[in-house]
Amino acid sequence: MSTLLLDDVSKNFGDRAAVSDLRLECRDGEFLVLLGRSGAGKSTTLRLIAGIESPTRGEILFDGERVTALPPEQRDVAMAFESYALYPHRTVREHLEFPLRAPGRNLTEAAIAERVTQVAELLEIGALLGRRPTQLSGGQRQRVSLGRALVRRSRLTLLDEPVAHLDARLRHDLRGELKRHQKAQGATSIYATPDFSEAAAVADRIAVLVDGRLRQVDTPARLYDQPADVDVALTAGDLKMNLFEADRVAAFAQPVSGVHRLGIRPSDIRVLDRPDPSALPGTVYVTEPMGYDQIVRVEAAGQVVTARMPLDRGRFEIGQQVWLAPDWRRQHPFDPQGRRLGARLP
């Protein structure tokens, strides 16, 4: 494969627009992540690409050819979706072998066994190959379903929140290995998640969906540094960006004209325990130490502001008077419509 193009694709369910006017290109061998909260349209988009749903408008093209009218089985797309139907009477091994025994696939037994072993090791289910679904935990079942998609090495692999039901440790470990595996195969992959940390960890590019519309498609670094609008800014960060009304902080922030709200990341705010005329006065709401770092939430400028800083920069008590010193040079400026001033369009 294979380049994928969604050309002005929309999908309505009754009078609800699930996705609207999607223009998205996924390049050959790319690991593209769809990022958005629950209900933003990620699953709908994947289902349209797979052919499980048909678009209300627009076309879907693989390598420049329209596949919009093709049913799923003719698109050579592997998918791992959140609801996975496993066969109760088949072992894990049989589940992983099954896609490789489909008609038209000419693999030797040895080749099949090797692929199954490789994918099982990747997903840390090698010890479970002889078990049946009822003998597996939810997280293990999810990995079997994921494995079924990965063994196929299709032109396009679609993964809908593939590590969602795994414990934190496994989630962190597996997502990177998943990407590595896909890259090594030269596979083109589209991966959906609501978690920015997860998206940023693995994506070549991230496509941000808000209310069924694509707001920005960019590398993780550019998305993080230059979110195109307020919704993207709030989505793209493991801690939510702080938003200030420009006129409330104008004296300190000196925003350019046209700025209605400005955003400051928690890691760009220092918390001082001494008065500072150029800092915002406030009261500590709560502190959350996290190893070498801490999150300090402060009531200031009429809202609760979140700051992240190293633990050894000071300890704070709930109710303590403090002063917030954001690095205003790193402000994100947004106009009254919520768009970034000077933003490029997707």
Partner: protein, 387 residues
């Protein structure tokens, strides 16, 4: 509020010992997290404190009074368990109000207290609904609210936020912590989530396989883990563990890595002297723990641990890199602009003043080379370059 003491408490189910001789004190007004992986014994411990399980041996005391033989209701304990049933025929308001109305609290006070706690937990807008009409996340908060309106000696909370989505959970953690501090409640909070324990607790009691591993403040546990289990359980990404061998150098101890010629770290004279008595003999094996924030990454060079970049994960303010090195996978958190890409050869140099040394056999901590509180905590990877 009251103090809580577990004195050599044991729980046995037939021949299986779920909790081995556990002793623990929770001070009046303290927030203690009982932390550990599933199956570690924390829930059995909680249930013994609550009176839902018999205590096989030892004593549980509340404010000095032995409560082993007391029924749950007599122990002055308020609990919120993950699946603590709500009364289906009462509204959410009625459920939360129940402990108050049952005690004959005046109507107006009931209203106020219920609304206060409901608004802190962000459920004040659904109080008129019935349990089956709302999500599990809301139900869980109702159960929590019902415990929190009471004035018991001790609060016991078992994974009270587990059904909430990540964002709501983060918010509720802060609110719960504020509430506990404001009311000076004695709270025992059971969780498997180390981040939750670290952010909320005054002290953490970590358990594994029925045994208490360590009790300390979040800072103590993070900086001075008592054994390998604690060291790798606390902190995400987890601490790296490197197999090393003790060797002698001209200036001090050298910890050799598994690959020929590789070096985990060279201890200076004062570090070597401080650890001399505790280190095993030269030629012995040792496990060296070092956190991802405490490893420097260079292009190939002499010394250190040779390796290759396996993964590179962008995190916003920095980058998490995974390497194949020292016969295992090692991780380092480095600055965003680091040039190394997957496949590149590198040399990893753990910081000698940030090491945690563990016995190769028992896994117990031998020593930590970190500086004291005033020491150079040094390079923070979370500040923007402007700082």
């Amino acid at each position: 509020m009251a103090s809580l003491t577990l004195d050599n408490v044991v729980k046995q189910y037939g021949r299986v010992t779920a909790v081995h001789r556990m002793s623990l004190s929770v001070a009046d007004g303290e927030f203690l997290a009982l932390l550990g992986p599933s199956g570690c014994g924390k829930t059995s411990t909680m249930r013994m404190i609550a009176g839902l399980e018999d205590i096989s041996d030892g004593e549980v005391r509340i404010d000095g009074k032995v409560v082993n033989r007391l029924q749950p209701a007599q122990r002055q304990i308020a609990m919120s368990f993950e699946h603590y049933g709500l009364y289906p025929h009462l509204t959410l308001f009625g459920n939360i109000a129940y402990p108050l109305t049952v005690r004959g609290v005046a109507e107006r006070d009931v209203q106020r207290q219920v609304f206060d706690i409901a608004s802190v937990l962000h459920i004040d807008d659904v109080l008129g609904s019935f349990p089956k009409e709302v999500s599990s996340g809301v139900q869980q908060r109702v159960s929590l609210a019902r415990a929190l309106v009471r004035s018991p000696s001790v609060f016991l909370l078992d994974e009270p936020l587990s059904h909430l989505d990540a964002e709501m959970r983060a918010r509720m953690r802060g609110e719960l912590k504020r509430l506990q501090k404001a009311k000076r409640s004695t709270m025992v909070y059971v969780t498997h989530d180390q981040l939750e324990a670290m952010t909320m607790a005054d002290r953490i009691a970590i358990m594994n396989q029925g045994r208490l591993q360590q009790v300390g403040t979040p800072k103590e546990i993070y900086e001075r883990p008592a054994n390998r289990f604690v060291a790798t359980f606390i902190g995400e990404p987890p601490m790296n563990m490197i197999d090393a061998v003790v060797a002698g150098g001209s200036d001090g101890v050298v910890l050799r890595g598994p690959d020929a010629g590789s070096v985990v770290a060279r201890l200076d004279a004062s570090q070597s002297a401080a650890l001399a008595a505790a280190l095993p003999a030269q030629g012995s094996a040792l496990a060296v723990g070092v956190r991802p924030t405490d490893i420097d990454v260079f292009g190939p060079q002499e010394g250190g641990l040779p390796g290759r970049v396996r993964l590179r994960e962008f995190r916003g303010d920095d980058v998490l890199m995974t390497f194949d090195a020292a016969g295992t996978r090692l991780r380092a958190i480095v600055h965003r602009d680091t040039p190394h890409q997957p496949g590149d050869p590198v040399t990893l140099v753990p910081r000698a003043d940030r090491l945690h040394l563990f016995s190769a056999d028992s896994g117990d901590a031998i020593g930590h080379t970190e500086d004291g509180p005033g020491g150079s905590r040094g390079r923070s990877t979370f500040l923007s370059p402007a700082h």
